[in-house]
């Protein structure tokens, strides 16, 4: 290949190329380097990089060049470990704002009489920006995949994952775990009366009330299905869970949302089933859901707007000692 073509090729490359002689002085400096450093070959020829750019002194780049010149070793310098090493700029405006290019640098030896070291520089700015954007996006997606789009509380996937994890922890530590299964009373009648949009608005308000009624960090409301919500309470025994349930039931009642189609109080209310246990080795997490469910249906059968807890000793659901006060 003739020299003229070689020079044209090197200048047309979309990466930075620097050639150093055996003393580490610049022999060649391609068009890409000129564009992004604002220095031409005439400015840099015969000088060492540390003279041209003071920040190179004592840097990994300087020791990599010395390893190449002395021992013929190659090095790579990652942008994450050597952020923006050289004063190179993606665009001229970046220079004014002092926003350096993110660089991936390769240093390798050459077997040649005059040239001893090849430095290649890749512009990683847009790749890193894309990576950051993708990461932010994936964080948002992960969050939204665990969220119920209507009410903003956790969705069924969130609940299933929490249940498996927290039940296992309770088992490992032999601590009590409790579950509340909550159902909006006469919701079908509410929907029939106010239409689906009215029903949606009601669910949003109930979900918010349940969420605001929880006082400990880490306690979470999830939408279990249709008009059913579920709450797991770690380190919580039966009586404490019953107290939380009763508080939440009252909070929904006090929302005072009119429900003309409901028999009884004429307001939106919830029924809550409660189960609590210190899991034994053989028990699976679904048993907690089954117990809370049984208690919920007992509460519904008992006339709604009430709480029932599952009594493991007798295997039946019972009303709270001081429930049904309103």
């Amino acid at each position: 290949m003739d020299i003229e073509l070689g020079a044209q090729l090197i200048d047309s490359l979309r990466i930075g190329l620097i050639l150093l002689d055996h003393r580490g002085c610049v022999v060649s400096w391609n068009g890409w380097m000129k564009r992004h450093s604002d220095l031409g070959l005439a400015d840099v020829a015969g000088r060492q990089l540390a003279e041209l750019f003071p920040e190179v002194s004592g840097s990994r780049l300087e020791s990599s060049i010395s390893d190449t010149l002395r021992f013929k070793l190659s090095s790579m310098l990652a942008p994450s470990l050597n952020p923006s090493l050289l004063p190179l700029y993606h665009r001229p405006t970046d220079r004014q704002r002092d926003q350096r290019m993110q660089q991936l640098i390769y240093v390798s030896p050459l077997r040649h009489d005059h040239c001893a070291c090849l430095i290649q520089i890749h512009d990683m700015t847009s790749a890193l920006r894309r990576e950051r954007r993708l990461r932010a996006q994936s964080t948002r997606l992960i969050e939204s995949s665990y969220q119920d789009p209507l009410t903003g509380v956790g969705n069924r996937r969130r609940f299933d994952q929490d249940l498996a994890q927290r039940f296992r922890q309770a088992k490992d530590r032999q601590r009590s775990i409790a579950m509340l299964m909550i159902d909006v009373d006469n919701f079908k009648a509410y929907n029939d009366h106010f239409g689906h949009q009215g029903g949606d608005a009601c669910l949003i308000q109930v979900a918010r009330t349940l969420r605001d009624g929880l006082r400990r960090d880490g306690d979470r409301v999830s939408r279990y299905g249709g008009e059913e919500f579920a709450i797991l309470l770690t380190d919580t025994d039966g009586p404490s869970a019953c107290a939380v349930a009763e508080r939440l039931r009252l909070a929904v009642e006090q929302l005072d949302l009119p429900h003309p189609a409901a028999p009884g109080i004429g307001r939106v209310s919830v029924s809550i089933g409660i189960a609590a246990m210190v899991p034994t080795d053989e028990q699976l997490c679904y048993i907690l859901v089954a117990q809370a469910d049984l208690a919920l249906y007992t509460a519904k059968d008992a006339g709604r707007n009430g709480c029932m807890w599952y009594d493991a000793e007798s295997g039946v659901a019972r009303p709270l000692p001081a429930s049904k006060t309103s």
Partner: protein
């Protein structure tokens, strides 16, 4: 398989300790914090023994960096860390606040460079003390597990491995890894010649 005498091994151990010392210095500069590195054991094993040796030291998911060296002897140098140890190193070097998912995005290139620093330091110590040139290629990063170490399977069956256990201490955390040099039988002889010349020069033979 003791093709290296006790004296040879001791000399290699010394040389690698020198190299590992250089690597610790470079890494400390990179993180602006004290990093200690030591390579206490040098062992010579056959390629097929490597899985057993590494599995024995609770290695399963591996993060590894390789560099090919050419000179009086030819070698593939490999730095192996268990995946979670590699993540611990990166977390210390990059940002302790990063989540494991974020760290693993940086893993390839950052581990490549860390491996590059450690391997080059060791090879430059050898080159320096032997008075030879070792042409080193660019580092490559792989993920693997001990049952399918592809690099070892590719080699000729009679290939020998120089195995060094290395210990890296950063921020009071001890991190174990292995440094492996893949040598053909011919290259082992060449390495021995280099060692003999080195020992002669020191008047130790």
């Amino acid at each position: 398989m003791s093709e290296l005498s006790e004296l040879h091994r001791d000399a290699l151990g010394e040389l690698f300790n020198l190299g590992v010392g250089r690597a610790a210095h470079s890494l400390s500069q990179m993180v602006r914090d004290e990093i200690e590195l030591s390579a206490p054991f040098v062992d010579l094993i056959q390629a097929h023994e490597v899985s057993a040796t590494l599995i024995g030291s609770e290695f399963r998911e591996l993060s590894m960096v390789t560099i090919d060296f050419e000179g009086p002897f030819v070698s593939k140098a490999i730095l192996l860390f268990p995946e979670r140890n590699a993540l611990a190193i990166l977390s210390n070097m990059l940002d302790p606040e990063l989540t494991p998912e974020e760290l693993s995005e940086f893993e390839q290139e950052a581990m490549c460079e860390i491996g590059n620093v450690i391997l080059n330091a060791c090879m430059s110590a050898l080159a320096d003390e032997f008075g030879i040139e070792l042409h080193g290629g660019l580092p490559e990063h792989y993920f693997s597990d001990t049952e399918s170490l592809p690099i070892f399977a590719d080699g000729a069956p009679e290939q020998l491995l120089l195995l060094l256990q290395i210990q890296l201490t950063m921020r009071q955390q001890l991190i174990q890894g292995h440094l492996v040099f893949l040598l053909g039988v011919g290259s082992l002889l060449d390495l021995r010649n280099c060692l003999d010349a080195y020992l002669d020069r020191l008047g130790m033979r």
